[in-house]
């Protein structure tokens, strides 16, 4: 079943279109990796898909209904969004940030229920932050902050997860954890869209790849079909070599 679908989606900032006529669908269990050079419109596409940036034309549908027809809170209940970073004006704790993930389910007055607390604890445990609940998030490293934001999105128990470069500040252990988390979620039928710069991370985690260039969708499909040396030359201007590994995921190496 299709969870989130963009058709002819365009949008940007202050009249300038950054994303142009993109078609993209995320079904249950899908993990779509979005790749592209800096400034290609990857983060903007993610904001448009989350509905936090209004489209200038085209539509995004959540479970077959346009985003505009849902209330903002209903969208947030179904769609988890992990931004690249968040500015913390006040010294929040790890637990306080993770609890924000439950806000779409609570409304203005209702205090968190045992289920809300359990979801937060499970999310923090899953990203490896159990025991760090009381730590001030401003004092954490960049990678740990990314994990807190991931936990916040997991705590909301979303049907679709949108992640903006979630692995950039993570060490290799946590990158592998993130791969495992995404695989677990997609196995449960959650759909995911992940903006990444690391092609090999995309090869590991995604069952589909979308390549953006100049705001347009340059290629989309299964990773091994899309991630060809010709495409890299055309989009990134670099030569790459695809190293096949028997019984494993192939490996992309740029040629200096």
């Amino acid at each position: 079943m299709t969870l989130l679908a963009a058709s002819a989606l365009s949008g940007g900032y202050g009249g300038a279109e950054v994303v142009r006529e993109v078609d993209l669908a995320v079904a249950e269990g899908d993990c779509v990796a979005v790749l592209g050079p800096n400034g290609a419109g990857k983060s903007t596409l993610l904001r448009l898909l989350a509905g936090i940036l209004p489209a200038t034309s085209g539509t995004v549908e959540l479970r077959g209904r346009p985003l505009a027809a849902w209330r903002r809170r209903e969208v947030a209940q179904a769609v988890g969004f992990v931004p690249q970073s968040v500015s913390f004006a006040f010294p929040l704790t790890v637990a306080e940030v993770a609890q924000q993930g439950r806000a779409p389910h609570l409304g203005p007055w209702r205090p968190p229920s045992p289920h809300d607390h359990a979801a937060v604890a499970a999310a923090l445990g899953r990203v490896g932050l159990a025991g760090r609940e009381g730590a001030a998030v401003q004092r954490l490293s960049g990678g740990e902050r990314q994990l807190v934001l991931l936990a916040r999105a997991l705590a909301s128990e979303p049907r679709v997860l949108l992640l903006d470069e979630p692995a950039t500040a993570l060490d290799v252990r946590h990158q592998l954890d993130l791969v495992a988390i995404l695989r677990e979620l997609t196995a449960k039928g959650v759909g995911a869209v992940v903006v990444v710069h690391d092609w090999n991370f995309a090869l590991r985690v995604a069952n589909r790849v979308a390549v953006l260039h100049g705001g347009r969708l340059r290629a989309a499909g299964a990773p091994e079909e899309v991630l060809r040396p010709e495409l890299f030359r055309a989009v990134f201007g670099v030569d790459v070599e695809l190293v096949e590994r028997p019984g494993g995921v192939p490996f992309l190496v740029p040629r200096a």
Partner: protein, 324 residues
């Protein structure tokens, strides 16, 4: 620990309120005041306690709660720990209009000063909102810059008015800029209480949204906040509270800025839990400040804005040192 802090806060407010009603000069000693509150006592004592001290206490509670609530909401809304009704030019706009009214209105029309202050605060709010609007909507940074500019203009206007105001009107105009609860009366309280109720309710309703907005607009929108609607409502409600405060008590600094931070240090960062406590703490600080203002150099009075600033600054220094 937080439960104990809740109880302490309520006790402090109750004790400060009791002290504000009982403490005073020979017209109503504590014993006279107690008798008056019980329905007996001399006529003079009843007049002083029920006609002067009680409205003044209630005005202090309303103004302190309004300023602290507005400050806490604005800090979260704009994601800036320094935001308060003063920084955003709302208090300044109200004060400029009130001083102008004091200087220019005929004596019979001085009852219109609170209305002028409200209009000035509303005008400053509209100006800040309009200045902050950019091609991408109004951002927090633009709003604070606009507020600083409006505040500077209001300060200049106040100084100009004070320097040319006819001397008999100078004390009244000056009192606006220093803050005072001395003009409290039953009518002012009866008018202000229902007026403050609606914006206070709006802010409490959006407590959870405000906590999310403190981590940025994009982050809040992703968590289900209708950012545009909430920002408009909260800014208007905070401005209405600040306008009400400045209309009946003049410019009172630091209550809106410091009280929310003190409460954050005790009760944590959850804005939903913070807002009602900030309101109570603002009320307590104001009642205590006014008590000091009334009694410290009796029979003369200090401006309550000066006292709250003197009480607030040391707290603020400690806060800055602790969070640096």
């Amino acid at each position: 620990m937080k439960r104990a802090a809740d109880v302490t806060l309520v006790l402090v407010l109750l004790l400060a309120s009791a002290a504000a009603l009982l403490a005073g000069g020979p017209a109503a000693t504590p014993a006279d005041a107690l008798a008056a509150l019980a329905g007996g006592g001399t006529q003079e004592a009843r007049m002083v306690v029920l006609g002067l001290r009680l409205p003044r206490l209630l005005l202090g509670i309303g103004v302190g709660a309004a300023l602290a609530l507005a400050g806490a909401a604005l800090q979260s809304l704009l994601g800036n720990p320094l935001a308060d009704p003063f920084l955003l030019g709302i208090s300044g706009g109200g004060a400029a209009a009130a001083t102008a009214a004091f200087a220019l209105l005929p004596a019979a029309a001085l009852g219109l000063v609170p209305a002028a202050a409200m209009a000035g605060a509303a005008g400053a709010t509209a100006l800040v909102w309009w200045m902050a609007r950019g091609p991408l909507g109004s951002s927090s940074t633009r709003m604070i810059l606009a507020g600083v500019a409006v505040n500077a203009a209001a300060s200049a206007a106040i100084l100009t008015i004070l320097s040319v105001a006819p001397s008999p009107r100078l004390p009244g105009a000056l009192a606006v800029t220093m803050g005072s609860l001395a003009s409290a009366n039953g009518a002012a309280v009866a008018w202000l209480a229902p007026y403050l109720f609606v914006p206070a309710f709006v802010l409490l309703l959006h407590g959870r949204d405000l906590g999310l907005l403190a981590t940025g607009e994009e982050s809040a929108a992703a968590l289900g906040v209708e950012v545009g609607t909430v920002r408009r409502r909260v800014f208007l409600a905070a401005a209405a509270l600040s306008g009400g405060a400045v209309a009946f008590a003049g410019v009172i600094g630091f209550v809106g800025l410091v009280t929310p931070h003190l409460c954050r240090m005790v009760w944590g960062q959850s804005t939903r839990r913070l807002l009602p406590r900030a309101a109570l703490a603002g009320a307590a600080l104001m009642v205590l400040g006014d008590l000091v203002a009334r009694r410290a150099v009796a029979p003369a009075e200090l401006p309550v804005g000066v006292v709250t600033a003197l009480l607030g600054v040391p707290f603020f220094v400690v806060l800055l040192r602790r969070t640096s």
